[in-house]
């Protein structure tokens, strides 16, 4: 007898609690309100952005930022009890799963670029990287020109792959370019000496180095070949939800809280190995924090 009455009371309360005059939520916000759950897509090995730090629960810089977005969504809907569910995505599945409604928000290490912007909308930038090289400290490779005739690995589908293939074709460098499945496997190829160097986003390279058997053997080097901005992805055309996400992120930047989150993941020992990435904030990222925007970085 108790539960129907309770339900009735709850429904009434909910109806009354809806802010008068505020438009009923639509799109993703409505989906979250109806299901009482927000589903966040995360990566499992993008150290330190989004990875499984203790083997099961996603953690990382981007996950912390996603947490800020969740708080903002709860406030926006007036529902502090909105639950969070994490869904594992890969480089290949992140866009389809967002587009088909499986996940509501993807915060990992996704570069904001024009091709992806055809299918999804990006939040304001959450990080800025440069594409560089990692190599063994004794390899003698210090910049891209030293790669001539060598084997170089990239993660399949990354901007680094595009840039390197283009560089190889344009400058006739005679590179053998290997496209590994992801950054983890690319680093495995470097570590097992299949390749002389590994090109990727600098933050990713530091992250892979943190996983290495002997991290000090590996150096990150070379002139950055491009600047890129990472963003969280939301469904295309869902301006109401994107506004909430952007507002939440901008608040973190404006309040200076971003400094604390950055320090936690890039300047202090992080799980699982307790290694310090020692990756100070780049001037580009500082500039973006001061003036957040949702545009891809210029080349």
């Amino acid at each position: 007898m108790r539960s129907p009455k309770l339900c009735l009371a709850a429904c009434l309360a909910a109806a009354i609690a809806t802010p008068a005059g505020a438009a009923a939520p639509t799109g993703t916000l409505k989906k979250i309100a109806d299901s009482g759950t927000i589903v966040i897509g995360h990566r499992d090995s993008a150290i330190p952005f989004a990875y499984l730090a203790d083997g099961s629960k996603p953690a990382g810089y981007s996950i912390d930022l996603a947490g800020k977005v969740v708080e903002a969504v709860r406030k926006e809907l007036g529902r502090p009890n909105i639950a969070v569910r994490y869904a594992l995505v890969t480089g290949q599945t992140r866009i389809p799963l967002l587009v088909n409604g499986t996940i509501d928000l993807e915060c990992g290490a996704t570069t904001n670029n024009a091709e992806r912007a055809q299918q999804v909308d990006f939040s304001v930038g959450i990080f800025s990287i440069g594409t560089r090289l990692m190599t063994h400290k004794a390899s003698g490779i210090r910049d891209f020109a030293d790669l001539k005739g060598k084997n170089v690995v990239v993660a399949a589908g990354t901007t680094s792959e595009r840039i390197l293939r283009k560089m190889n074709a344009d400058a006739n460098m005679g590179l053998n370019i290997v496209s590994a499945k992801d950054n983890g496997e690319a680093f495995l190829m470097l570590e097992t000496q299949r390749v002389a160097a590994f090109m990727s986003d600098d933050a990713m390279l530091y992250g892979e180095r943190a996983k290495a058997r002997v991290p000090t053997d590996w150096i990150v080097t070379g002139t950055p070949q491009s600047r890129e901005v990472y963003g969280c992805m939301v469904r295309k055309g869902d301006t109401a939800f994107k506004a909430v996400v952007d507002k939440a992120l901008k608040a973190v930047y404006a309040s200076g809280e971003i400094e604390r989150i950055y320090q936690k993941w890039f300047m202090q020992p992080i799980p699982p190995k307790g290694l310090n990435m020692n990756f100070p904030m780049s001037p580009e990222w500082r500039a973006l924090i001061r003036k957040p925007n949702d545009q891809p970085a210029g080349r």
């Binding site: 496209s179 097992t192 000496q193 299949r194 002389a196």
Partner: protein
């Protein structure tokens, strides 16, 4: 679903040299066929030998073949590929190891690893088909062969195998198709076969569904053609009156 379909994507520039995305699919299909055919040849030869070994009246020989089958059939293909690609080269002699890992082009060393892996894996499966083909024949056939003075080799060569291979053409066709489908594991060690090129196109263009739809069609057409071809082979080698044909 709010998705921008664009079927013209295959004719767009990839941004690398003069290539369009369709070129990637063509080159990917080439690698897929190159992997699958060579692996199939290995599988067919080794599988036939192992299949015969499992049926000969010698417990040691049969035991070796059985052990092979159990080992290769019970370990996932992907695990085997990682062993062949990452682990085995590390146990080669120093000079050979450097040559394989650094002097060979990465595409070649990946190709060798995947062909060996897929060939040996499929051989275990072919072996079982050959064994069942032989065991499906009445035992009297072998005895009759021996009675007329054939030795064991001749019994297999002239009596058992010609019939067994005809019986197992339909299941062998499935294995043949499986080699083509399984060759997609090569994408995980950086060999740019059809699946790898599909994923690459999906990532570069963000037109994921189009890329995978095209890949589905290509695999489908490829395997349908192989089925038609094997059907033709089956009719071609049929001995009238010996067996009741499938259709």
């Amino acid at each position: 679903m709010n998705y921008n379909w664009d079927w013209g994507v295959f004719f767009k520039s990839t941004g690398v040299g003069q290539e369009i995305y369709l070129d990637w699919f063509v080159s990917g299909l080439g690698w897929t066929i190159a992997v699958a055919l060579v692996a199939w040849i290995i599988a067919l030869i080794l599988g036939a030998v192992l299949g015969v070994m499992r049926t000969v009246p010698n417990r040691l020989v049969a035991g070796i073949a059985t052990a092979y089958v159990e080992l290769f059939r019970n370990v996932p293909l992907l695990v085997q590929l990682f062993i062949w690609y990452f682990l085995v080269p590390d146990y080669l002699p120093e000079g050979l190891q450097t040559w394989f890992k650094q002097d060979l082009s990465p595409a070649t060393s990946a190709y060798v690893s995947v062909v060996v892996c897929l060939g040996l894996f499929t051989a275990a499966r072919v072996c079982e088909q050959v064994r069942t083909g032989i065991q499906a024949l009445p035992r009297g056939q072998a005895y009759a062969g021996l009675a007329v003075g054939f030795n064991l080799v001749q019994v297999y060569r002239h009596v058992l195998l010609p019939q067994a291979f005809r019986i197992i053409i339909p299941p062998l066709t499935s294995e043949f198709l499986n080699v083509f489908k399984n060759s997609s594991v090569a994408s995980l060690i950086g060999l740019m076969e059809l699946l790898a090129q599909t994923r690459q196109t999906a990532e570069f263009s963000a037109n994921i569904f189009e890329a995978f739809t095209l890949a589905t069609l290509i695999y489908f057409v490829l395997n349908m053609s192989l089925m038609v071809f094997m059907g033709w082979v089956e009719r071609r080698v049929r001995v009238p009156g010996l067996m009741v044909g499938g259709k």
